[in-house]
């Protein structure tokens, strides 16, 4: 399925530990490993400068990624069903707590309408069915111009806009 780059859809990632923008890993050069084999493989197989990606599940213990997290170019989070929202929290924690600045990719069963939320919690790319075009993604992303809570993106919630515009209830 085609991978959509979401990182251009917003102006940067919020991260208290790393202020760098996300870099989308190129799928043609990235080798995906099972997390079970990650610890052993990562040091043995990885050449200096070589990119590596990992696919994790919605319930993967993120602490297990901590030792290698700086070497991961992509963390792909698997959605087994669109209703299973655990992946949203996984991404949020990777950005906010681990300060992970690489590509976080949503893969699996997802709805186009979820893209706006994916971006806000820190995903920087998404794998969507082939019939969905870049224009479709763009339309969903632009649908809502205001947000009401701080998340892992750089969008400012309404209450902070109210403060800066001095708007007290127009």
């Amino acid at each position: 399925m085609p991978v959509h780059d979401l990182s251009s859809q917003h102006t940067g990632l919020y991260s208290p530990k790393a202020q760098n923008g996300a870099q989308v890993g190129s799928p043609t050069e990235t080798r995906f490993l099972d997390i079970e084999d990650l610890a052993a493989e990562i040091n043995a197989a990885l050449q200096p400068g070589q990119a590596i990606g990992v696919t994790i599940g919605p319930d993967t213990d993120l602490d297990r990624l901590a030792p290698f997290i700086d070497r991961l170019a992509v963390i792909a989070i698997e959605f087994s069903a669109f209703k299973d929202g655990r992946g949203f929290s996984q991404a949020r924690i990777l950005r906010d707590r681990f300060g992970y600045a690489g590509d976080i990719r949503a893969v699996g069963e997802l709805l186009l309408d979820q893209v706006q939320f994916l971006i806000r919690v820190g995903f920087s790319s998404v794998d969507l069915p082939p019939h969905i075009s870049e224009a479709d993604v763009q339309a969903v992303v632009e649908r809502f111009t205001v947000v009401f809570q701080a998340a892992a993106d750089s969008r400012r919630p309404v209450q902070r806009l109210r403060q800066s515009t001095g708007e007290a209830g127009v």
Partner: protein, 548 residues
């Protein structure tokens, strides 16, 4: 009252546009019903037994006269001329056509109303004490915090695909009218030893097939950390709540399975790790919202102006049950009963809604509340205007003097509307209401909360009823189980099943027998619930099942 600014309005306008597009795609066949379902549910549109049902959010149960008129307009234009106020302080319309739904939401948006997050596995419309801002026993106005929660939870990107629905209730009063211990999260405003305001946080309460009185997980949370603490609870729930079984997916099951202490530990650890300055609300926003909930311009010292003429006894009965002490002397909080004898609990016609909108403007600063007991509240009425108000209400069938009495019944829509129901609720409620319609008798019985659910999902809150009635299906026949001793108030308790169920024909007699036991054996002035707690189930069992 809270009023939208351009930001609030922008979001709901964009939401209407989104939904219009989705409906268009559905009607053209581009979307299948399966694909459309999760999208329509996010806007409160259900497919019920006979038609689409649309649920409109009334945040913390507060409405302006203008908003009430918009609800009347919807009832008249898109439904059969009436609407149904629910136990979650919302309103439902039961006869909506899919092709009309976008226009309906467009009309509502002009009155700052919407259907966002009134269904689906999301943070639902937040509820609060329906006497907020008017009652004397209040530490602070819970609507301020409920409004902050409304904003924070609106289209929350991380918590829009939870294991199951999620309900938050807030109260600032000593008397719990918001049933906070029966919510996924309940918040009670408290003051700590240093005089600071914050919340007692309750998590994991609920009704449904596994009723739980929610435990307190934090005695005092400083109010400025409301949002970060809610995020911590929601994140723990989103990550660890069960998703394999719909009946075990609510947070109450997670709290129960982990144990309150272990759950609390998880939440506290999560909260520790959150960047609070990033997530918590801005103080200036709290001030902005607080200003909008400033008390209206009360007229002082009107107490002596009560008309000297002798008031009719019917009015005195109404005043006894349907008015409540106001924090401002000379004022009263008025409950407008939506429980006429033999009527459908919570139903109001478009004409009644318009009338209440007018009366609110004349007598209550244009403010209306919806109570979770399915009545409407005029929160700020001058006592000298009570007779006039009552006279107008009575003429419109809205003057029933039964607030808190046995005929003030909560009932879910039941098998008459709902695709989940096993049995009818509304006709049972109507028959009980007719049986006990003699007002003198009702007053003699005193406070008695009867709550009826048409299935185990407990939308009629039967677990919290002094007398709870649960409709079940027994070999294709409607049967009704009775529970006694429940309470949704500050002394929250789950009612206990008294014994075998009763048929549709027997259930009203059974309720009457229960009332007789109470009347025969109570001590002077002893309310039903106290009586039950003193004597237990035995005398009731004897009377109900002796002949069997």
């Amino acid at each position: 009252m809270y009023e939208y600014d351009t930001f609030d309005q922008t979001l709901i306008n964009q939401r209407v546009n989104e939904f219009r597009d989705q409906v268009k795609r559905r009607l053209s066949g581009e979307l299948t019903e399966e694909q459309f379902r999760p999208l329509r549910l996010l806007n409160g549109l259900y497919l019920q037994l006979h038609a689409y049902m649309l649920r409109v959010a009334i945040p913390y149960g507060t409405l302006s006269s203008e908003q009430m008129r918009a609800l009347a307009h919807v009832a008249r234009t898109y439904d059969k001329g009436y609407g149904h106020f629910t136990t979650r302080q919302n309103i439902q319309y039961n006869w909506i056509r899919l092709e009309d739904a976008p226009d309906l939401l467009y009309d509502l948006a002009a009155a700052q109303l919407h259907g966002i997050q009134t269904s689906g596995n999301v943070i639902r419309n937040v509820t609060a004490d329906h006497f907020a801002g008017a009652t004397a026993d209040e530490l602070d106005d819970p609507r301020i915090y409920a409004e902050l929660i409304r904003q924070w939870s609106t289209l929350h990107p991380e918590f829009s695909f939870l294991p199951r629905k999620f309900k938050i209730a807030v109260t600032g009063a000593e008397e719990d009218r918001a049933a906070v211990r029966f919510h996924d999260i309940g918040l009670i405003l408290r003051r700590n030893g240093d005089g600071e305001i914050g919340f007692e946080v309750i998590a994991g309460g609920g009704m449904g097939r596994t009723p739980v009185v929610g435990p307190t997980i934090r005695k005092f949370l400083p109010k400025q950390h409301l949002q970060s603490y809610l995020e911590a609870i929601l994140r723990v729930y989103n990550r660890y709540g069960r998703r394999d079984n719909i009946y075990k997916a609510r947070i109450k099951i997670l709290v129960r399975d982990l144990g309150t202490d272990a759950f609390t530990k998880e939440v506290e650890a999560e909260w520790e790790a959150i960047d609070k300055a990033h997530v918590d609300h801005e103080l200036h926003e709290e001030h902005r919202v607080r200003k909008m909930f400033a008390p209206p311009a009360f007229v002082t010292s009107t107490a002596k102006e009560v008309p000297s003429q002798v008031s009719p006894p019917d009015f005195e009965n109404w005043r006894k049950t349907n008015t409540h002490a106001h924090k401002q002397s000379g004022y009263a909080i008025v409950t407008v009963s939506l429980k006429p004898y033999g009527g459908i609990p919570g139903d109001a016609t478009a004409e009644q809604m318009d009338l209440i909108a007018d009366l609110a403007e004349r007598f209550s600063f244009g403010e209306i509340r919806v109570s979770h007991e399915q009545n409407l509240i005029l929160p700020h009425v001058e006592q000298r205007n009570l007779i006039e108000l009552w006279t107008v209400l009575s003429k419109a069938g809205l003057g029933t003097a039964n607030a808190g009495l046995i005929t003030d019944i909560i009932a879910c829509p039941g098998l008459d509307y709902c695709s989940l129901a096993n049995a009818r609720s509304i006709p049972v409620s109507q028959r009980i209401s007719e049986r006990f319609s003699a007002l003198q008798r009702q007053h003699d019985i005193g406070e008695l909360k009867v709550k009826i659910s048409g299935c185990i999902n407990a939308c009629g809150h039967h677990h919290a009823g002094h007398i709870g009635i649960l409709g079940v299906d027994r070999k294709g026949e409607e049967f009704y189980q009775i529970t006694l001793g429940g309470s949704g108030a500050e002394d929250a308790e789950i009612g206990k099943i008294i014994g075998p169920g009763f048929s549709y024909d027997e259930i009203v007699d059974a309720v009457e027998q229960i009332v007789h036991v109470y009347l025969d054996l109570r001590q002077p002035g002893e309310p039903f619930l106290n009586f039950y707690r003193r004597v237990g189930a035995e005398p009731f069992k004897e009377r109900l099942y002796a002949r069997a």
